[in-house]
């Protein structure tokens, strides 16, 4: 970047300011998760006691298991449906595609709370008891467009002649997909799945509306713990969630950025 020194320094200051604004609260949270004090706001030395306390908390471990299970299954479902939808949409005549596009991307823009309420009403209407299953369905629903958007972006960049070349060389439509299209989409699919997994792991609103009594996830658990006062245990739990999420998102981006095979 070129330009006068004051301008470069100004840009640097603005960027650092932004980073502070975004990450200072998170940094404070993580630092205080190592605080030995019982009361959160005073520093009394380094300690891992709150992490140890987490490991002994049975309810918390169950919530963690629920979260991972829901994230795994909903990601699997969303990925399968999202990839199929992305590929199917690319082959439709564009007028129909424009319509379906809008319909499938809507969940990305409607407020999450409305999605939660709608899902709740829907499950009540079809008399499906609330529980792990309903949460999983809800997560799959909001993750489907996420997967679809990422996979389609990649699909658009693929040379459509690659599939023709495969057909020309003797591949059936399925073989052409398996041997050429799918491997080229793989980075996008894996990246999308990792992102979907993260979004599911962190989701509160939809989970809140669709979870039954036995289906407490980590974010729900944190929320209920806060109601009885902020304990350093929550700091420790949140710190772990933050680190796990950021790790997964970073991994997702890294996979997607792997050399894009296009001309």
């Amino acid at each position: 970047m070129k330009g006068p020194a004051w301008r470069r320094r100004g840009l640097l200051a603005a960027s650092l300011g932004n980073l502070f604004f975004l990450y200072l609260p998170i940094a404070v949270l993580i630092v205080y998760s190592f605080n030995a004090a019982k009361l959160a706001m005073t520093w009394q030395g380094f300690s891992l006691q709150w992490y140890a306390a987490l490991a002994r908390d049975h309810a918390l471990i169950v919530a963690c298991q629920n979260s991972v299970l829901i994230a795994l299954v909903s990601t699997g479902v969303a990925t399968l449906l999202g990839v199929s939808a992305a590929i199917g949409l690319e082959r439709l005549p564009w007028r129909l595609r424009a319509w379906l596009d809008g319909a499938l991307l809507l969940p990305l823009v409607i407020p999450e709370i409305m999605m939660g309420v709608a899902l709740l009403l829907f499950f009540v209407l079809i008399k499906l008891p609330l529980g792990l299953l309903t949460v999983t369905i809800g997560h799959a629903a909001f993750n489907l467009p996420v997967v679809m958007v990422i996979v389609r972006a990649r699909l658009r960049k693929l040379d459509p002649q690659l599939e023709e070349a495969a057909r020309d060389l003797g591949a059936t439509p399925w073989q052409a997909f398996r041997r050429v299209t799918l491997p080229l989409l793989m980075p996008a699919i894996v990246g999308a799945a990792l992102l979907a997994f993260t979004v599911s792991l962190d989701d509160f609103v939809v989970t809140f509306f669709t979870a039954g009594p036995g289906a407490t996830t980590l974010p729900l658990k944190v929320y209920s713990m806060i109601k009885t006062g902020i304990s350093p245990e929550i700091n420790a739990l949140s710190a772990m969630l933050v680190v796990a999420s950021m790790g997964l998102v970073a991994l997702s981006l890294a996979v997607q950025r792997r050399r894009i095979f296009t001309h």
Binding site: D159, Q161, A165, R167, D168, L169, G170, A171
Partner: protein, 362 residues
């Protein structure tokens, strides 16, 4: 014509309301290098895609060795294509790309390996088998695309603007190489191009296409020296044109009147009669320039003024003003280096013999 390798019969293909291919018929002999030459939008790529099976004719039929391809999907046709932008599989190595077609046909691994290595040798890429397409130059990618198609020994190899993405020098090298490979393997090649020089140098026969129709099919020399229509004459090579009217026909000769010019002698076109509007087509290298006005044995002499003289290394290219409408190009090879040059503003005479022009109906 002996047993044709591939034959198109009255093939029609419409894209919406436009007719991309219009009652197209031609046949290509086995082992022939056949080019389809035409401007963009002439339907030549559609023709290739119809043969490959990516598109289906609305009418008509395509036959290979007498067998209709009507309901045969692309993967079962004995045809392979070299795509314009190569369409190499970016996630597979060079060898992986070349082996793809053989793997699809379930050929045993050992044979695949030996055939891939033979193909690599043929396109002079031995030792490059483990590279990815992105690590190759444009010319190398082009050769991989060729090897990937050739290794399957198709009955017909289709090439879509095969040299279009290469620079001028590489293009000329590859023209020769492509022709050499074709003679080596003895396969039928059908090559689509808009580049007339490419078509003329490589092909046994050329079909000139426009608006979905074949205008003329013939050997390169025939197409160049005896174009069947004005379009063909003007599309292939540079040509000078003179519009006039037949004044008289005497045996195989005719006399043509053009306003403001002396009477022009030319070979009479078939079925020509007096009064017919015609165009006389003259190739720039068939015209002779002189400072003398005398015919000196030539049938035709037309006075002109030099408008521009361009030195091209191997030749001089002159633009001659015949009258206010006509500007002709004449090429004079720089064979002896010291040949006297004409300068802009010089008055010269342009001369040619009757059999050095082609007369075409307008």
């Amino acid at each position: 014509m002996n047993q044709p390798g591939i034959e198109l019969r009255e093939v029609v293909k419409r894209h919406g309301s436009t007719v991309a291919v219009d009652h197209l018929s031609f046949s290509v002999r086995r082992g022939e290098f056949f080019s389809i030459l035409g401007p963009s939008g002439s339907g030549k790529t559609t023709t290739l895609r119809l043969i490959a099976g990516f598109e289906h004719p609305d009418q008509g039929d395509i036959l290979i060795d007498g067998q209709s391809l009507r309901d045969v999907p692309p993967n079962l046709r004995p045809v392979n294509m070299v795509f314009q932008h190569y369409a190499l599989f970016p996630h597979l190595t060079v060898s992986g790309n070349i082996a793809f077609g053989l793997e699809m046909r379930g050929i045993v691994r050992a044979e695949i390996r030996s055939r891939v290595s033979t193909a690599l040798d043929m396109v002079r890429l031995a030792g490059m088998g483990d590279r990815l397409p992105a690590q190759l130059s444009g010319g190398e990618q082009q050769r991989v695309a060729l090897a990937r198609a050739l290794v399957n020994r198709p009955a017909v190899l289709l090439l879509d603007e095969p040299l279009g993405a290469l620079d001028q020098q590489l293009r000329q090298e590859m023209q020769v190489e492509l022709k050499t490979i074709q003679e080596q393997v003895g396969l039928t090649f059908i090559c689509v191009t808009h580049h007339q020089e490419e078509a003329l140098t490589m092909s046994d026969r050329v079909a000139v296409m426009d608006h979905g129709r074949v205008l003329q099919v013939g050997a390169p020399q025939e197409i160049y020296t005896a174009p069947a229509s004005l379009f063909v004459a003007e599309f292939i090579g540079l040509s000078n044109r003179l519009d006039g009217r037949i004044a008289a026909v005497e045996g195989t000769r005719c006399r043509i009147e053009a306003p403001g010019l002396p009477i022009i002698q030319a070979d009479a076109p078939a079925g020509a009669g007096p009064g017919r509007a015609v165009s006389v087509v003259l190739r720039p290298e068939r015209l002779h320039m002189s400072q003398q006005a005398a015919p000196n044995g030539f049938d035709n002499v037309v006075p002109a003024r030099v408008a521009k003289a361009v030195y091209n290394g191997h030749e001089m290219q002159y633009q001659l003003r015949i009258d206010e409408r006509l500007l002709w190009t004449v090429r004079v090879p720089n064979a002896d280096g010291g040949q006297k040059r004409f300068l802009p503003g010089d008055t010269v005479s342009v001369r040619w013999n009757a059999d050095e022009s082609v007369v075409l109906a307008q």
